[in-house]
């Protein structure tokens, strides 16, 4: 796959290839394309900024995000409290900043779980034929028959509410999607000559899957991960909003929004700003994910 992509992308490929000791990889080409995509660059920049905020969060909140100041309650946005305060007098701006690592972790850890389990199972289901693959696929299908939020909801119900359990629940609900995508890519990659070649020189199944098939299914996995982080942040925030994720007083965007519900009529800012934070984050990840898909393989159906 990589060689054909190169020759069609580089107009004078033969000469280029002749001059270079090592041809540009598929990844280098994708990187160039990604950088040219303006909305992807915006998405990526915002995502990077949010990660920096998340890392610095403990040091950059102007007020203590958890300590309550009853006499400062429900102050509308002003210079001192740019996003106002909630009914316990906590500064919303500080809580939104302090919530950044929790909300981002929700997306990243959930997708780490979904991606690693789903990719391994997808590799197995695509590589082997037989009862194991059939069982994996049927389970994936059965799990896909649940609306993902309901699946996550029932797992939280079983594990009990909490931030960590929500991450696990959302992660598990993403496994079947990864299984499907990885398996489909493995099925097409498996027929390549290099797989036969690896077999002929005596490579074991594990080696073939890890070193020959995995690199070739990486592109859709990366795209699915990026778009998945967006979705997982949204589902995680939804669960927190329902009171099943982060528990008070932990700052998490969905949870802050939920706390602002009761004062929506008199102090709409409490619920408004965390919502904007969620939207900006999810939008950035979606822009980046769309850009990655276009850069890696525009025909990808994700």
């Amino acid at each position: 796959m990589s060689t054909t992509v190169q020759s069609s992308v580089l107009p004078n490929a033969p000469i280029e290839l002749g001059l270079r000791s090592r041809p540009r990889s598929q990844w280098a080409i994708a990187w160039t394309q990604l950088r040219r995509n303006r909305s992807a660059v915006v998405g990526g920049t915002v995502a990077a900024f949010l990660i920096v905020v998340a890392l610095l969060a403990p040091w950059i909140t102007p007020f203590d995000p958890i300590q309550t100041y009853p006499k400062d309650r429900l102050i509308s946005p002003n210079w001192e409290h740019p996003m106002g305060t909630d009914k316990l007098g906590r500064d919303i701006f500080s809580r939104v900043i302090a919530g950044t690592p929790n909300s981002l972790k929700m997306g990243l850890i959930a997708i780490a779980i979904g991606c690693s389990a789903g990719t391994i199972l997808g590799l197995i289901a695509g590589f082997y034929r037989g009862p194991v693959s059939v069982i994996i696929l049927m389970l994936a299908d059965a799990m896909l028959a649940f609306p993902s939020i309901l699946l996550a909801l029932s797992i939280v119900a079983a594990l009990g509410p909490g931030l960590a359990n929500t991450m696990i629940a959302v992660g598990v609900s993403y496994i079947p999607g990864f299984i499907r995508v990885v398996r489909a890519s493995v099925l097409s990659a498996k027929s390549n000559v290099y797989v036969d070649a690896a077999k002929v020189i005596g490579a074991g199944d594990g080696r073939i899957m890890l070193f020959h098939l995995l690199p070739n299914v990486l592109a859709p996995v990366i795209v699915l991960c990026t778009l998945g982080v967006a979705g997982a942040i949204l589902i995680g925030a939804s669960l927190s909003f329902l009171g099943l994720g982060a528990q008070p007083p932990t700052p998490e965007w969905g949870a802050i929004l939920n706390e602002g519900r009761s004062t929506m009529r008199i102090a709409p800012w409490v619920a408004t700003f965390p919502g904007i934070a969620i939207m900006i984050t999810v939008l950035a990840m979606n822009l980046l994910g769309d850009g990655l898909r276009d850069a890696l393989d525009p025909r990808m159906k994700l």
Binding site: A142, L144, F146, P147, L150, L153, R265, G275, V282
Partner: protein, 325 residues
């Protein structure tokens, strides 16, 4: 995302009863899926770390004796496979157990609440189709123009916006400030507008992107050129020749998207305090009412399978080029 429901074979029409045979086969294919769904639901509730009895008691200080007694009462002392077959056998007979909280039959509660969810999801689907198809067609017809850019930006915003946030903002505007629409509860059409809109917006965004992609493809086809060459008006070409063909892939995903709406109903029903199975599920989880959670989740998944079955079957009617064999 590809799913088992997409496994529709391209089929050829031969005899009158071919459609019936196809329906029969699709029904048969649904059986293993439904069995597996019940396994997954059961597994989540019983095998995951997290003892149902402990969850039910939720930290209440009780003696080990009472725990054992409860365990016996719910059959949790038996081997896991026996428990599954009891559960599946009962479920097949329409018995999903009793709610721990209200002591009413789970099925009774579900059937009492489902019409409200059905109404909400159907209204949301309608809104999503109207907004999604309109903006998708406009974007495709004016490909590359500002109309395209604006509608695709809103589509992206639609999928990135937390529905509960949108719900709160709309409540603030239309119920609290303007006083046009009721904030909570269910009843007439006025109660339906906001929840259905909130639920439909995310869906509209997905449909808009899909319609645009499909329409752009169709507009390049020969038959569109032919229609134009015949001197038909732009309107006729787009609505009668292009749109009808562009909608086929949209119909295929409608079934899949119904699951999205069912999931979204969980949040929308909670925010608007509307009755429905989504809110039933959330209340049940918060009350540690695990037979109810199990029942609602199983029911929703089966509804999803049934909806997809209906979409698959009606597919041939929508696209006459597809035949049943």
């Amino acid at each position: 995302m590809e799913s088992w429901v997409r496994g529709i074979d391209r089929i050829r029409f031969s005899q009158g009863n071919a459609v019936l045979q196809y329906i029969q086969r699709r029904l048969m294919l649904s059986v293993p899926i439904i069995i597996l769904i019940s396994v997954v639901v059961f597994f989540i509730m019983h095998v995951l770390p997290g003892d149902p009895v402990r969850i039910m008691l939720a930290g209440q200080p009780v003696s080990g004796e009472i725990v054992e007694q409860l365990r016996k009462e719910y059959g949790l002392d038996k081997p896991i496979y026996v428990q599954y077959f009891t559960f599946a056998g009962d479920a097949l007979q329409g018995d999903l157990g009793r709610s721990i909280k209200t002591k009413r039959l789970v099925t009774q509660e579900i059937f009492a609440q489902f019409p409200s969810t059905l109404q909400l999801t159907m209204a949301a689907m309608f809104i999503a189709l109207v907004i999604g198809v309109t903006s998708g067609v406009l974007a495709a017809v004016h490909q590359g123009s500002w109309i395209d850019a604006v509608s695709m930006f809103f589509a992206l915003l639609g999928v990135s916006m937390p529905s509960f946030w949108l719900a709160l903002l709309l409540l603030l505007l239309f119920s609290f400030n303007l006083g046009w629409l009721p904030a909570v509860g269910a009843g007439g059409i006025k109660h339906l507008i906001l929840p259905a809109f909130v639920l439909g917006v995310g869906e509209a965004a997905i449909i808009a992107r899909l319609v645009r992609a499909s329409m752009v493809e169709v507009l390049r086809q020969e038959y569109v050129n032919v229609a134009r060459a015949k001197g038909l008006s732009n309107r006729v070409v787009i609505l009668r020749h292009a749109l009808r063909n562009a909608l086929i892939p949209v119909v295929t995903v409608l079934g899949l998207q119904y699951g999205y709406l069912l999931g979204g109903a969980v949040i929308v029903e909670t925010v608007f305090s509307r009755p429905g199975i989504g809110r039933l599920a959330v209340d049940a989880i918060l009350a540690k009412d695990y037979p109810m959670v199990q029942g609602v989740v199983l029911f929703s998944a089966v509804i999803y399978v049934v909806v997809n079955l209906i979409v698959d079957i009606s597919y041939g009617w929508i696209d006459p080029r597809i035949h049943y064999e």
